[in-house]
Amino acid sequence: MEYQIQAPLIEEEIRQLRAGDYVYITGTIYTARDAAHKRMFEAWQQGEALPIDLQGNVIYYMGPSPAREGRPIGSAGPTTASRMDKYAPTFLDLGQKGMIGKGRRSSQVKEAIVRNGAIYFAAVGGAGAILSQVIKEAEVIAYDDLGTEAIRRLRVEKMPVIVAIDSQGNDIYEIAQQEYRK
């Protein structure tokens, strides 16, 4: 099935999505990868405020290449999500609703997805030029010193993703591989 959805996410809407669905996301999402996750997690442990409000939001695991003049961003494909597995369950429990990345997740992340009615989308790895074109605005909003790993707010229009793990815990990487495995 193909769907159009808005970000930030509404739980009732994402509960209808199933692993394998093709989804186009429009709206505001945030980027954070390894270093930003570590820093946000440590801030939370210290009881400090996080630089972004996680409630209902989507984090795109992505560190772009620099933008050329006149463009909002450079190449902008997903990075491997499992490196964020250590932090993701905590952020989901704090209200984050969606993740965009690539590759398999841990059982702890799956459990946190189900527990919170959240969702994990896969974008196509290595399609950074195409994905660059759906990003209409990009602004660094925290951790500027991290360079490509800074937290950015993005405005995306019809960003193409596939539901990798749905709110019930169905995992497309397991389902699809079994179908074609000899």
Binding site: G63, K102, G125, S132, T148, Y180
Partner: protein, 280 residues
């Protein structure tokens, strides 16, 4: 002695970095086209089309194929009759990387220390493998390496008794474990023999071979074909979303080894198997 100046080397490396990030070599373009024809999964076919569109946009609009423009890995073959003037060879290479990654709007993905993790800001230092060879040429191959696939690579020190079946098992297990994380369809580089670091180096070097060209050793060629078929039977498919094209090619290099050993290294590369060679 033939003289080559550091300035000339730096200039050349700068261009190679920008070229590699935006354009795949013709062998890779051909093999991706063939993959799309072979793939039977509808979603897999759609993803392979998306990768071809991505290549077109990358070249047309000068947006890197992938945001991970990699750590710059070089294989240099320095003719022993070459005299490099005006500075050090490695400095000249690093200056080329610095300029290429800055002027080309490429991502700076290198941290100065593996544990304190502060970005160097210019993608240096490069990883440079140098061989001294006969002749008066300088042959430079750049293979920028993304770490989605690099992280899924492995080295195993097998026992001689494990034999060819052991080698096959290591290759298949490594690809299966890599699955969607390594951005399939992948190119699989394998080094068998030598010692610990020689095996790893061969696996990396094998990725720079013209994609799909087989080893000249008949049994190795057979092994490459068998492994490609078995990898594609794993069902991982394009982007790991299921399908019949998981790998585009398997390249295996071998080297004599010790009576007690059978090292096997598997270096996985994503579908953006970027490499550029220039001879000065």
């Amino acid at each position: 002695m033939r003289e080559i100046s550091c300035g000339e080397i730096t200039e050349c490396i700068c261009k190679m970095c920008i070229q590699a990030a935006h354009f795949l070599s013709p062998d890779m373009e051909d093999i991706l086209q063939q993959a799309k024809e072979k793939e039977i999964a509808p979603l897999g076919k759609q993803i392979l089309q998306q990768l071809q569109d991505n290549l077109e946009i990358a070249g047309r609009d000068m947006i890197p194929i992938c945001q991970d423009t990699g750590m710059a890995v070089f294989f240099l073959e320095v003719g022993q009759e070459v005299h490099i003037t005006g500075g050090g060879l490695e400095d000249a290479v690093n200056e080329g990387v610095r300029r290429g990654y800055t002027e080309g709007y490429l991502r700076k993905s290198v941290v100065r220390d593996p544990l304190d993790r502060v970005n160097t800001g210019d993608n240096t230092p490069a990883i440079i493998h140098t061989r001294i060879v006969p002749g008066d040429k300088l042959c430079m191959t750049l293979a920028p390496k993304g770490f989605g696939s690099e992280n899924m690579s492995r080295i195993v020190m097998l026992k001689p008794a494990d034999g060819i079946e052991g080698v096959k098992k290591v290759i298949l297990e490594t690809v299966d474990l890599a699955g969607p994380n390594a951005c399939p369809p992948m190119v699989v580089g394998v080094g068998v023999g030598g010692d610990f670091e020689k095996a790893a180096l061969m696996a990396k070097h094998a990725l720079t071979r013209e994609t799909g060209k087989h080893s000249e050793i008949p049994y190795v060629e057979e092994l490459e074909k068998e492994m490609l078929a078995k990898i594609n039977d794993l069902g991982i498919g394009p982007a790991g979303l299921g399908g019949t094209v998981t790998a585009l090619a398997v390249h295996i290099e071998t080297y004599p080894t010790h009576i007690a050993g059978l090292p096997v290294a598997v270096n996985i590369c994503c579908h953006a198997n970027r490499h550029v060679t220039v001879e000065l």
